[in-house]
Symmetry: C2
Subunit: 182 residues, 2 copies
Amino acid sequence: MPRTRADVARTDKLDEIVEAARGRLVDGGYGALSVADIARQLGVAQNAIYWYFPTKDHLLVAAVEGILHDILDCKPKRGAAVDRVLWFAERLHEFQDLRLTIRERARSSEAVAAFERNVVGLLRLLLVNSLSEVATPDHIDDAADAVMALCEGVLLRDISAAHRRRLLRFGIERLLGPESTV
Amino acid sequence: MPRTRADVARTDKLDEIVEAARGRLVDGGYGALSVADIARQLGVAQNAIYWYFPTKDHLLVAAVEGILHDILDCKPKRGAAVDRVLWFAERLHEFQDLRLTIRERARSSEAVAAFERNVVGLLRLLLVNSLSEVATPDHIDDAADAVMALCEGVLLRDISAAHRRRLLRFGIERLLGPESTV
DNA sequence: ACCTGAACACCGTTCAAGT
DNA sequence: ACCTGAACACCGTTCAAGT
């Protein structure tokens, strides 16, 4: 939370950069994210961006952080466990392309790798919470991991939304047991 | 199968390029795959590569095709269904990084997109075959898709081999039913 | 058919210099 | 603290020209 005028200005400029990055990222993925191009759009020198972000991958992290925050920023659905997981999978689906970008960039950037660990932990936590009453405590970790893997694996495929839901339903009911539909 | 001397020479040069590409790809992923760099290594002009491959992504496909072929080129394991799937998952694990590269590049290259469809179909077929006796025919498609999604999702995570096997075992047994361990 | 030389239009990143 | 100008060392791809 900024206090001085300078801090406000700094935050504004930072936001401007991140917003531009988000636009590029949502439209065309990592390949469309260009520091030089963003600088051009904002009317500053290329290296001006480097005052705020030491590296392109740091900018990537900031942008993805914002996007993910917006995706998760809505009240989770209520209902049977299977429906809550399906809702979770829908959110994950919106994030899937960037999830893979993060995974790829984590190879060469420690900053992205650290961010990826945070993201996976966060998503897993959300899933565990929504499963707490349906899985027995001694199986909840494996169940959450398996369901999350199923979601991510299903989302990896380029199939129709209906097929996706059918597959997830099939898998979730078997992974969580019959009480998941209550 | 080449007949003339010219064809032999052509195949040799093609192989040389693809081998160089495979090396870069295995070592450092897509980021380390550089047409210019390969040309440098082979001692030819950069654009010489473009006589054989119209685009960097076509070279990528050729290289990944070879790598995948080598990975799958060993007799599948025999035993209980769960063990066969675990063996399959091990093969998939070796391929996982490139699987994601393919997925990413498929966005901007139709050649890669077509190749991805082939790969997914092939892997799915291998899995269905090894599940044919354990799943009932009316569920075999969903079961294969769910197991494959589970595998790919598990492999997406950066966890230990032991944790990976435990998760897969947990998931497979539930997705395929108790008869999968026979 | 196969390859070279040279260029084009980009990149991410860095350095010295300005205010 | 914040930004510019200019450069460095790369890219993928294309074109005209050679053999």
